[in-house]
């Protein structure tokens, strides 16, 4: 068996049935081995599209996503997707072809030091130096990507090793180093909970990584503890949970941010005190004692000290927390804040109001549908105004904030979940970053839906220019955008443009009822901003609102 054949064989043996990629010179033996193999390959039109499709596949299922690229520019084009997967702890395996071993270091055609490039954007990476190492490296790589805190792993395989005869040795994962819960820390945590008057659960992406939604909800439903979510955690707390305060942070809801600022015990569950969450860190939850639950010890105390740290898989640590029922006075107060600061959808005028459109879409699309966002104003409106029943139904580039994520991620999600409704919500800036993947949708007849919120601007940058750069709108005018419906039509994708509020209902019906791919191009007010907003350097209780700007 050649190295290339072994690579495909091992993927199949490990349950990888779909991969995303783009062929080229140094990975041709692997593509030859794919020919007729049981592993289905989805050809994207750019390697970044393959990387994000694999991320979308992984995030919508919890399974390993796999992408292929050739050496040199093929591999460099994967780097952004690897960085995105690193920031958001996504189990991803990238396999890249490399120039033959004898040519490495000679500046050969399409030779780049991919291993060197990978160091800052992977959990681990390998270059295979000997044919006899290939089987072990591939098996270890698949294990590493999915174990502990998940992340991207890259395997760079020189062409001669792909073509060489290689031995196969089964590789058995050793006992993973999973920290055992410190019983003293559990006792401290439970003591803090017993004394808490105003506790809040601060829920992060770790809940999805640990597949611990059930344990989270058991804890919340017994304690009635008010819960706030990071962007990545949306869907972890079920939408009908009575004390679900929604997203916190820079564009979080006012009730969520105020509750955290007032709380006396903050139970951080698989989150990392990201700067977009905390605002001014020294003023974030300043009255709170922190109980931090995370599988990654490096996250505990990295940004905010913890009084108790439960370093373990959340499935193990969450059930160790005592379920003291939250005091009624605090619950009444948080409920009052939720009512006082509820979202409003009564928008004057005839224009399409993006929050209303998204809220309507959320109510009318299947509850187990998948929403894949790009990055910018539309991303924050989705987080604010749509509801999710599981974190695998909301794919948004969190840590890296990568424009161009949404369309290829939706392709990956649709491949992974062919019977589910999958939609990408994008902006007129973001959609153009990987627009070539419309060809992938057409090639594979994927029923991906596309909603573009078009304000003819790089909206979030424009918003900051308005608020913090004295209205100097440097390079954010996109009024020369193409006609997106015509553009989609070139790829055989039907759709419609809407410009008025009274067209919203029919447009949503067209999206929801279409059997195939469909695009709605919604022209929105170019001056609409995302509110509330925690300004740079401010505390989370110093939010700007539309009326106070």
């Amino acid at each position: 068996m050649t190295g290339a054949e072994l690579t495909i064989d091992l993927l199949a043996k490990h349950g990888v049935n779909e991969v995303f990629g783009y062929p080229g010179g140094a990975i041709m033996p692997i593509y030859d081995a794919l020919y007729g193999a049981p592993v289905k390959h989805y050809l994207t039109r750019h390697e970044q599209g393959a990387g994000f499709a694999a991320v979308g596949f992984a995030r919508s299922t919890g399974k390993l996503g796999v992408c292929f690229a050739t050496s040199g520019p093929g591999a460099t084009n994967l780097i952004t997707a690897l960085a995105d997967a690193m920031m958001d702890s996504v189990p991803l395996l990238a396999i890249t072809g490399q120039v033959p071993t004898a040519a490495i270091g000679s500046d050969a055609f399409q030779e780049i030091d991919v291993l060197g490039m990978s160091l800052s954007c992977t959990k681990h990476s390998y270059m295979v130096e000997r044919p006899e190492d290939l089987a072990e490296i591939l098996q270890e790589a698949m294990h590493l990507a999915q174990s502990g805190r998940p992340g991207p792993v890259l395997v760079d395989i020189p062409k001669d090793i792909q073509m060489a005869q290689v031995p196969f040795h089964p590789w058995l994962a050793g006992d993973d180093y999973l920290p055992e819960l410190d019983s003293n820390q559990v006792a401290i945590a439970n003591q803090l909970l017993s004394e808490a008057k105003r506790p809040v659960a601060y829920v992060g992406g770790g809940v999805q990584a640990a597949d611990a939604q059930k344990q989270l909800m058991q804890f919340l439903e017994k304690t009635h503890m008010p819960a706030v979510s990071t962007l990545k955690a949306l869907g972890s707390v079920l939408p009908d949970y009575e004390f679900n305060l929604g997203m916190l942070g820079m564009h979080g809801g006012q009730a969520a941010n105020l509750a955290v600022q007032e709380c006396d015990v903050l139970v951080c569950i698989g989150a990392r005190f990201d700067d977009r969450v905390t605002g001014n860190l020294s003023k974030f939850a300043a009255k709170a004692k922190v109980i931090h639950l995370d599988i990654d010890a490096a996250e505990v105390g990295k940004r905010k000290p913890a009084k108790a740290s439960l370093i373990a898989d959340l499935k193990t640590s969450l059930p160790q927390l005592s379920c003291f029922v939250t005091e009624q006075a605090w619950l009444d107060h948080t409920k009052a804040m939720m009512e006082q600061h509820a979202w409003r959808y009564d928008y004057p005028g005839e224009k399409v109001f993006a929050p209303y459109l998204l809220n309507q879409l959320s109510q009318r699309m299947p509850s187990n549908g998948v929403v894949c966002c790009d990055v910018g104003q539309h991303q924050m409106w989705v987080a604010q105004h749509m509801k999710f029943s599981h974190p695998s139904n909301h794919l948004s580039s969190g840590g890296a904030g990568t424009m161009g994520f949404g369309l290829p991620a939706a392709i990956g999600a649709q491949v992974a979940r062919p019977n589910d409704f999958v939609i990408t919500v994008s902006g007129d800036g973001s959609i153009m970053m990987n627009i070539q993947e419309l060809a992938t949708i057409r090639r594979n007849n994927l029923p991906v839906k596309i909603l573009i919120l078009d304000n003819q601007r790089l909206g979030m940058v424009r918003q900051w220019q308005e608020l913090f750069f004295e209205g100097r709108y440097s390079e954010t005018d996109l009024s020369d955008n193409p006609d997106f419906v015509q553009l989609a039509a070139v790829f055989g994708i039907p759709g419609q443009t809407i410009t008025r509020a009274d067209q919203v209902d029919d447009a949503i019906a067209a999206l929801v009822n279409s059997d195939g791919p469909y695009i709605v191009h919604a022209c929105i007010d170019d001056k609409e901003n995302v509110w509330p907003l925690v300004p740079p350097g401010a505390a989370n209780d110093e939010m700007m609102t539309e009326s106070a700007k």
């Binding site: 160091l119 681990h124 990476s125 590493l144 990654d296 490096a298 990295k302």
Partner: protein
């Protein structure tokens, strides 16, 4: 504040590079570095300097797949006092 650490690494060709990248990126200046190899492992003795608490580095190093163990030897400034 200066800290002295010893680190054992797998003798993978890229292990030292990966490890040093983390030291730099996490905000620690390298003031001394010595590398030996035996028993199939790299053994690093190094001194780093930073205003940041040393656990912010050791916890990151401990996550690296190539790192077998990290030992904090002492706090050199405290020792000098």
């Amino acid at each position: 504040m200066k800290h002295s650490l010893t680190v054992a690494l797998k003798n993978q060709s890229v292990a030292v590079e990966r490890f040093l990248r983390v030291v730099r990126h996490r905000g620690f200046d390298l003031t001394h570095f010595q590398l030996n190899m035996d028993d199939g492992h790299y053994h690093v003795a190094m001194t780093v300097d930073s205003d940041k608490p040393i656990y912010l580095l050791t916890t990151q190093l401990n996550k690296l797949v190539d790192v077998k163990h990290v030992t904090l030897q002492n706090n050199l400034q405290q020792q000098a006092v």
